[in-house]
């Protein structure tokens, strides 16, 4: 469907179609965010042996997030007196816009891909790196030492973990011979890359947690030492935009892991009668659950341990993985 629109003559009707599709996608993702937050709280509650949100919307707390969003919308937007007003306003926008831009390349099923880019993987990594600028800008513009420390930590963490992230992807790209996400899915017809590239998967997953600023790598907003990190001075809906960006990235990163290592919409053997989109959803939800599980079972690591893990463990491992993959490909898959 998308290919037809992409190759048709440009017209105003197409502008409408593109806008409509974009709005549809953002609504789907916002729906996901609403229930991801609830799921996060419910899973946390389950692991800590307590009921969790159970007042609004029945025992499961189905309407809890909606109530929270309503509260955030009604809250006063405070701009600190000594803040840099312009940058304070612009920073949430810079942080949020790339979070939605990266969704464009992800193939959700056989027919639903918004942009079939030849450099899909690289596009994701490049665009998602832009968000960090918004976070550093927010930390500086707030004119608060905790915010600034949070922003600086975010920058350091991004630099340290983006390199292993990209290098671990190289193994997958080498085996596929393409950076197109659709080609990568097709190359996993028989065996998923989680089995042929297990080291790359582990490195990618750890680096992804660090990129998402989630526990145990959530030093950027470590509440016990930095109050609220870069978003300390933000209130109301501007704060909500930062949180929204974070959960948009959770959606995008889980989709990317599904596509790269779990075969995307490819079905498991003998179960091909179940449609591809269902398979994608199942794998995607499993990856999201993994993120939640890890967040609530590991303690937060120290800043210096974070740097050591990134530079001394993940980076050499990722390099070795690229080297070994290249040799194996040269010998066995020529």
């Amino acid at each position: 469907m998308m290919n037809e629109i992409m190759t048709s003559q440009p017209s105003w009707l197409n502008v409408l179609k593109f806008t409509g599709l974009g709005v549809a996608l953002i609504l789907v993702v916002i729906l996901f965010v609403t229930y991801a937050i609830l799921a996060e709280r419910k899973v946390m509650a389950f692991m800590q042996m307590r009921p969790g949100p159970n007042r609004i919307g029945g025992k499961l707390g189905i309407l809890q997030t909606l109530a929270d969003v309503l509260k955030l919308l009604l809250k006063e937007n405070i701009t600190p007196k000594s803040a840099d007003k312009l940058l304070f306003l612009v920073a949430p926008v810079i942080a949020f816009a790339p979070a939605f831009m990266v969704m464009a390349v992800i193939p959700f099923s056989e027919n639903v891909t918004f942009a079939n880019l030849n450099v899909g993987v690289l596009y994701y990594v490049g665009i998602s790196g832009l968000s960090i600028i918004g976070i550093v800008a927010a930390g500086w513009a707030s004119n608060n030492k905790y915010s600034l420390l949070g922003g600086m930590r975010a920058a350091a963490q991004m630099i340290s973990y983006e390199i292993p992230l990209v290098l671990s992807l190289l193994g997958v790209i080498l085996l596929t011979g393409s950076m197109n996400l659709n080609d990568i899915i097709k190359a996993q017809d028989n065996v998923w890359y989680i089995f042929t590239q297990p080291i790359a998967f582990v490195i990618f997953f750890i680096a992804a947690i660090a990129e998402l600023n989630r526990g145990p790598f959530d030093l950027v907003e470590a509440e016990s030492e930095l109050v609220g990190g870069f978003s300390t001075e933000y209130t109301g809906f501007r704060w909500a935009i930062f949180m929204l960006a974070e959960y948009f990235y959770l959606f995008a990163m889980s989709s990317l892991i599904t596509v790269l290592f779990l075969g995307g919409w490819q079905p498991v053997m003998f179960l091909g009668f179940i449609p591809g989109s269902v398979w994608f959803a199942l794998k995607f939800l499993f990856v999201v659950f993994l993120f939640l599980w890890i967040r609530f079972t590991f303690p937060r690591i120290r800043a210096d341990q974070l740097m050591e893990l990134g530079w001394k463990v993940l980076l050499p491992l990722a390099l070795a993985n690229v080297f070994i993959t290249a040799i194996i490909k040269e010998i066995f898959f020529r």
């Binding site: 030849n118 690289l122 790196g129 832009l130 800008a137």
Partner: protein, 170 residues
Amino acid sequence: MSSSGIVFSIIAICAILGGLMMITLKKVMHMTVAMILTYFSIAALYVLLTAEFVAVAQVLVYSGGITILMVFGIMLTYHKAENRDEEKVSSFRKLITFLSVATLGIVSYFLVAPVDFVAEEIFVGDHTKAIGEILYTNYIIPFELVSILLLVALIGAVLLAKKDKEEANE
């Protein structure tokens, strides 16, 4: 004007606007944010030429670069200096500046105007593969030289940083 001409104009104006903001704004952080506009517009120009790999590489390299620039800007600059009043500039000096900038503009216009840009055929296909093949056949020696240069810079940076640490211990 064709539709691609309109898109090009919008992107080009954004790129120039970013550059102008970069040199006129007072605060380091504002300057770096203006730089994002310029670099992102240039990436958009590459997309317009269907050079998707170069466009994405541009964004990838400069998003990290600008973040580092921001961190250095925060840590290494004197922030009180940003608030000082503008220095008085004599009108004579302003006139001279205007005249020299105008001369530069006119000269470069007459230099560029007679050049006949032949519209080369836009390469359609897998850019990444094409770039890789050319890089590893025709340009392998410059490529290796650049990698050695970068390695030397990397080792130099490590050495410099390490020396500081030892001194701190003493």
